[in-house]
Symmetry: C2
Subunit: 107 residues, 2 copies
DNA sequence: AGTTTAAATGAATATTTATTCATATGTAAC
DNA sequence: GTTACATATGAATAAATATTCATTTAAACT
């Protein structure tokens, strides 16, 4: 394993280990949208979305461009889709019935 | 995205968003070893390793088999290697110089 | 320049997660 | 069965992260 991988992985996993941020990504996979639209779609306060967006943007999991007054967010599909697929495959293959992998208190 | 993916991903990312657990995985990529050996290799208390191993075993990121008195841990390379590679590629391609992705207070 | 809408920031609090230490359980060899 | 080694567990504390709310900054349109 290349040097530096662990640090990148730690930050990457930390950024994604949060239900709000995962929900945001899930929304943005369907279509790019602005901060306010995202807040509405997720029934969350704008400031909460903003706070949570920051680490995802810093890590280039999301990118943003301006459209008029809005800042439109786009998910980096090239990175996210293969990783989500890999986890889904893992779940299918190695955790077919496991309750332990699923019991979850997602809000 | 398949239903259930978000839950699996959340648990998966949470399990990996921890420096102790990542260090354990990094060790085990080199070679399988017992809980005590791992504790020694990482200069950590055995109980801390045990606590941290549990979620990784529950999610089948690690598996364990007994050898005499020891419980030998093996990392699920089929899952872990592609994901680590994907993150490394992401870092190379999208965060070539970014300090934000690297500044880190890993202990 | 002033107004409006959009988004970011900061600081306080709440919540979650990690770590430690003491102890219990398990497993194998004697 | 008793001893010794290996690992797991529980409960308390410490530390990290998330959330909220009030406020500020920013951009675009008039």
């Amino acid at each position: 394993m290349k040097k530096g991988t662990t640090i990148h992985c730690h930050r990457f996993f930390t950024n994604l280990s949060n239900p709000t941020r995962l929900a945001a990504i899930e929304q943005l996979i369907n279509k790019p949208m602005s901060v306010t639209e995202l807040a509405e779609a997720l029934c969350q306060e704008q400031s909460m979305i903003s706070h949570n967006l920051k680490p995802l943007l810093d890590c280039n999991i999301l990118t943003a461009h301006r459209e008029g007054k809005k800042r439109v967010l786009t998910v980096n599909l090239e990175t996210i889709i293969p990783i989500f697929n890999a986890i889904e495959n893992h779940a299918t293959k190695f955790c077919p019935t496991s309750r332990k992998c699923q019991k979850e208190d997602l809000k």
